[in-house]
């Protein structure tokens, strides 16, 4: 599979380097809605090429954190560093342009479109042909369309959703919708991929598949991944480092093993059995 070849070259280099390179860092970020404090003074970072998990009980502020990272929410306080530089307050689409893609906790697909079109939409940022060519759908427009189609087909193959290529996504079963969502995010060839509970509502087999896709994306293409998940098995197995939130505060940060042993984390989130 060759899509993203150019990006992954650069990536492999950086992942093999000793010193982890910082991709994104949030510092002292706070966010509240009216009276509700969703995030309180949180700092953490994401290294280039790693899989970073964010866990925490319901309503801890995980999704809000992702929303902050990709510019949907604007924190009242704190700084965000992106690729080593301070990031200004930006619009979500600008964040997307700078290389951040994501999936959503409540599936946010374009319900009226087919799987293929959904994934193709993810390539929107990469397509350049001008309006007039689009009108006649020939020349550069057609060429571009076909090139990107080829890449999208690769992703579709990779995620094994060929059979639903032309189905409208609105009525697909939940699990497949999540997969299409992942496909759409992958189509953006992001540097940083944010996944919000990609495995909710899946059975074991499907979770295994999904894990495989995530790992493969990470390893083959060097995509950095931030992952929210409630299945501890998945989190512990996949992630390089875990940050734990509770009531908007950070209560733990470190490698999975360490976090798992942290008493505070156990009390607040894991419960006894894990």
């Amino acid at each position: 599979m060759t899509f993203q070849a150019n990006v992954s070259d650069a990536m492999t280099e950086s992942t093999t380097a000793k010193e982890p390179e910082m991709m994104l860092a949030v510092e002292h970020v706070s966010l509240s809605f009216g009276g509700v404090k969703a995030i309180t003074d949180i700092s953490f970072d994401i290294h280039r090429g790693e899989i970073r998990a964010i866990i925490g009980p319901n309503g801890a502020g995980k999704t809000s954190m992702l929303n902050v990272i990709n510019g949907f929410y604007h924190p009242q306080e704190g700084t965000i560093y992106w690729q080593g530089k301070v990031r200004r307050r930006m619009k979500p689409h600008e964040a997307a342009k700078s290389g951040i893609a994501r999936t959503f906790q409540n599936v946010a697909l374009f319900k009226g479109m087919s799987t293929l079109d959904n994934v193709m939409t993810g390539r929107g940022l990469k397509m350049k042909s001008n309006f007039l060519w689009q009108c006649i759908h020939k020349g550069p427009a057609l060429r571009e369309e076909n090139e990107h189609r080829a890449k999208v087909e690769e992703i579709i193959d990779f995620l094994e959703i060929q059979h639903i290529r032309n189905k409208p996504v609105g009525k697909l079963p939940y699990g497949l919708q999540k997969r299409v969502e992942l496909a759409r995010a992958l189509a953006m060839e992001p540097d940083l991929l944010l996944l919000d509970e990609p495995m909710a509502g899946m059975n074991l087999e499907e979770k295994e598949d999904m894990s495989r896709f995530i790992i493969e994306t990470n390893q083959r293409y060097g995509t950095t991944i931030a992952l929210i998940e409630h299945d501890m098995g998945v989190v512990m197995d996949l992630s390089d480092r875990v940050v734990v939130l509770d009531y908007g505060k950070k209560i733990g940060d470190g490698p999975p093993k360490e976090v798992q042993a942290n008493q505070e984390v156990i009390d607040a989130y894991l419960g006894v059995s894990h």
Binding site: F33, V36, G56, P57, N58, G59, A60, T63, S64, Q105, N106, K171, L172, P173, Y174, G175, L176, E197, A200, G201, M202, N203, L204, E205, E206, K207, E208, D209, S211, R212, I215, H230, D231, M232, G233, V234, D237, L238, Y269, L270, G271, S273, H274
Partner: protein, 272 residues
């Protein structure tokens, strides 16, 4: 009422469901839920679990779906002849997949709509509201928030709590554990167990978290491609080799790390 219907609260006989007049989804599904039982409905994505549950609570009409064959009986009454609200009045309520909270209503108002059909007075409703809050303290904190703005998990709690407010005799739970933190998943099932034991509520749950589901359920059905491919006592099922492989993880005891899973075509599919 005959003896047979006396101890089955719900029976589904050979139903076939078609969406949009052309898409055949369920191809003959039968199952029964005994009074006071907990029955699990298992199956991969798209197997038709949600469709089955919706057929039971008669919500298919809203999705342009139709039960074209077979019959469903709830407490000996033909479900097709009842409207969804009749069903709720008779004690059968569904927690829908994907939460479906009323976004513009506050959490508390959401819970109160659950008690819409109840006639036993505001004191009883108030008591149940407190009960729900005791089960889900998080909801108490958020009681005045608009449901649409609460987190995914909070909405899930709200949806479950809302169903509990109806004081039902049977709850159809569609993926209750979805999006809930691990300790909450256990709690939810504990609640299920308690309601089942103390109040005699029957449950039919469609659940992806097979290991937990089989732990709490007494009986299970496995659905694939719109057909029941296997059923049995929960114990039996969890020992079945295929179930183990597909739904519980390869090795019987500890499961393999997700990192090491390799993709391979499974040895056997029931309907491949």
């Amino acid at each position: 009422m005959s003896d047979a219907t006396d101890n089955t609260i719900l029976s589904v006989n050979n139903i076939e469901v078609i969406y949009d007049h052309v898409i055949l989804v369920l191809k003959g599904v039968s199952l029964t839920v005994p009074r006071g039982g907990i029955v699990a409905l298992l199956g991969a994505n798209g197997a038709g679990k949600t469709t089955t549950l919706k057929a039971i609570s008669n919500l298919l009409g809203a999705e342009r779906g139709d039960v074209t064959k077979g019959s469903i009986e709830f407490q000996g009454e033909e479900v097709q002849a009842l409207s969804p609200n009749d069903l709720v009045r008779r004690g059968c309520i569904q927690v829908m997949e994907g939460r479906h909270c009323f976004g513009h209503l506050s959490i508390e108002e959401n819970l109160l709509t659950g008690a819409y059909t109840r006639k036993d007075g505001s004191a009883a409703i108030k008591r149940d509201l407190e009960m729900v809050y005791d089960y889900f303290p998080r909801l108490r904190e958020r009681r005045q928030s608009q449901a649409g703005y609460t987190s995914g998990g909070e909405q899930q709690m709200c949806a479950i709590g809302r169903a509990m407010m109806a004081g039902p005799s049977m709850i159809l739970l569609d993926e209750p554990s979805m999006g809930l933190a691990p300790q909450l998943v256990e709690e939810i099932f504990e609640i299920v167990k308690q309601l089942n034991e103390k109040e005699g509520v029957s449950f039919l749950l469609a659940e992806q978290n097979t290991s937990v589901a089989l732990r709490y359920a007494s009986y299970g059905y496995i659905l694939e491609g719109g057909r029941v491919v296997m059923d049995g006592e929960a114990k039996e099922l969890s020992e079945n080799q295929d179930v183990k492989e597909f739904y519980l993880g390869v090795g019987g005891d500890g499961q393999k790390s997700f990192r090491d899973v390799k993709h391979y075509k499974r040895r056997k599919r029931w309907l491949a």
